[in-house]
Amino acid sequence: MSLVARNALIALGITLALMGTVAYAVNYLNKARLADLSAMEDQLSIDTLALDTQFSLLENAPCESAASSTTVIEKLNDLGSRLAYAESQLGAGNPQVIRLKEQYSLLEIRDYLATKRLAAACGTRPVIVLYFYSNQGDCADCDKAGYALSYLRDTYPFVRVYSFDYNLDLSALQTLIALNRVKHELPAFIISGRKSYGFTTLAELEKRFPKGALATTTPQ
């Protein structure tokens, strides 16, 4: 075998080994991401359960658990961002991503219910947004709507946004959809109990909020 052929074969071997290493590294990192998400969800699950338990224990003074509720929504938001990133990297059809999304949606529903109970008990009026989207190509404005809601959530700390994949095959979510009679016209919103569909601009979306809801101070 000539020197050139020998060197070319060695180079090919090195190239394939490097490619394999890169593929392994990408796969390893993606798995680590999923493991991280899973660990976060476990922790969040405990936090939500703790909130429920705290709520039950303080039945006579339920408002004491409000601080814990704020921590949970912050964690939920962080988890949502991470899950969206993982979904963009691994694809919406990835079975692990779907499983994590289901868990995430359950946690969101539980936190939504806890927030409602707290609001009723403590007489507060949090601005709650239920947002239904789809990433199956049947919602042209969902990305824009999601971005506008992120802005509102980051700008107004008392706006609590719960995002749900409309097509997710999860019984609790489908019950929530059925109870609120949300039609398959996405994006769909339930803002402080009022249902609306479609998205054009941020300004138009802001008009759907109750008067005074978009304030940077605590709503009374």
């Binding site: 000539s2 020197l3 060197n7 180079a11 090919l12 890169v22 593929a23 991401r33």
Partner: protein
């Protein structure tokens, strides 16, 4: 299929080629070349300096040649004024009467005619060429000469870097030239060179007589001559310790003009008269790897650039349409945290990072091998961040020129 997928074969090829260069660098023939000792017997040498409007640099070039550590009775310098219209004749005049220097003035006819006219004037065994904007280290010629001890060697190239890289663009080119030092050294050990550059390449006179004079060669007479020597079955060697410094273009425009000429010359020579060498196993590494990869590199440069521009435009359009009234201050503020979770480790990005790392490694090897002076840090940074944006411009221009048979002036 994402546009990035189109880039995978080219990135694979780039990594493969760099791995081949590294393996060849570590192979026995390259090691032997690096250990080569200086010759005890020194042949007669003539160095030709073809000039066209080089008034500002020709004196410095000639002086660096006169400072070469080589017996004076065996070294002659031929300054050729190829019909300059500036003060080049006056700059040359100060060397008139020097025992080692001969001056030839002729009508303008192009670099190849200047070289041929000077070759006719000398009986030296070895003939060198040095562009009038280049300068050599005193020991450079003594590093070149031992390569000719192999009778099959028809030409020898030197280790080029940029003379006084005083701006970012020249720093970038310096890194690229030093990358070329590693490439030339490794590829020469498997006779894979396809160009004998103007700055300090040497030829065996007897072989030049056999293969014929320099030709226009689509404005790349050095490439045409190298390909002709390869086609005739000769070897082109490299002397990695023979340092030569050349002035590089200082502006993007002049760099693009220079590289368009080189790239168009490569396309026209390789796909024209020397098409028979491409993919031909008789020509070993040159035919099976270097030339095919050289052609593919032009296509890949254009492809990777197009993919990047496409992605950039797509993301920018997406970002603009996503805003939908969200304040710009929010859109421009960084939202992602410095968390490993968000590290964008896609196959494409990691592969690109691997290719760049391999290139940087080969540049560092080239600098250490040739002991080229100067700090390379800015060169490496500018090479990584600028080269990928500028190179596609001359590749596109050259591909267009070759496709539409467009000819441009030398400068």
């Amino acid at each position: 299929m994402s546009p990035e997928t189109l880039a995978y074969p080219f990135l694979f090829l780039a990594v493969f080629f760099e791995a081949f260069v590294l393996v060849t660098f570590l192979s026995k023939p390259a090691k032997i070349a690096r250990a080569r000792r200086k010759s005890a017997v020194l042949p007669s040498v003539a160095v030709i300096v073809p000039c066209y409007n080089e008034a500002s640099t020709v004196a410095g070039t000639a002086e660096s040649l006169l400072a070469l550590d080589y017996p004076k009775d065996k070294l002659e310098i031929i300054l050729v004024d190829d019909g300059s219209t500036d003060a080049t004749p006056a700059a040359m005049a100060k060397f008139e009467g020097h025992s080692q220097v001969r001056i030839l003035r002729k009508e303008n006819g192009g670099k190849h005619t200047a070289l041929n006219a000077a070759i006719q004037m000398t009986n030296a065994e070895i003939i060198g060429c040095l562009d009038a904007d280049s300068f050599v280290e005193p020991d450079a010629l003594k590093e070149i000469v031992p390569c000719f001890e192999d009778p099959k060697v028809a030409a020898v190239t030197a280790a080029m870097s940029v003379h006084k890289p005083d701006n970012v663009l020249r720093q970038m080119q310096n890194a690229e030239y030093i990358f070329g030092i590693t490439l030339r050294h490794a590829l020469a050990s498997v006779n894979g060179l396809y160009v004998t550059p103007g700055p300090f390449s040497f030829y065996r006179h007897s072989i030049l007589d056999k293969v014929g004079a320099f030709r226009f060669g689509h404005q790349t007479e050095d490439m045409e001559m190298a390909l002709r020597l390869q086609k005739k079955g000769y070897k082109i060697d490299n002397a990695p310790y023979a340092r030569v410094y050349t002035k590089a273009p200082a502006t993007v425009g002049s760099l693009i003009r220079q590289r368009t000429r080189w790239t168009t010359g490569f396309i026209r020579n390789v796909l024209g008269e020397y098409r028979g060498l491409v993919g031909n196993p008789d020509y070993g590494a040159l035919g099976m790897l270097v030339l095919p990869i050289g052609i593919t590199a032009i296509a890949s440069g254009i492809m990777l650039f197009s993919v990047s521009v496409f992605d950039l435009v797509r993301h920018a359009t997406q970002a603009v349409s996503m805003r939908a009234g969200v304040p710009l201050s929010y859109s421009l503020a960084p939202h992602a945290s410095f968390d490993w979770f968000y590290f964008p480790a896609s196959f494409y990005l990691l592969l690109a990072a691997l290719t760049i790392s391999a290139t940087l490694t080969l540049i560092v090897i080239g600098k250490r091998l040739s002991k080229t002076p100067g700090n390379l840090f800015l060169g490496l940074v500018s090479y990584v961040f600028l080269y990928g944006f500028i190179a596609p411009l001359w590749l596109l221009r050259a591909a267009g020129d070759a496709m539409f048979r467009r000819n441009r002036a030398w400068r």
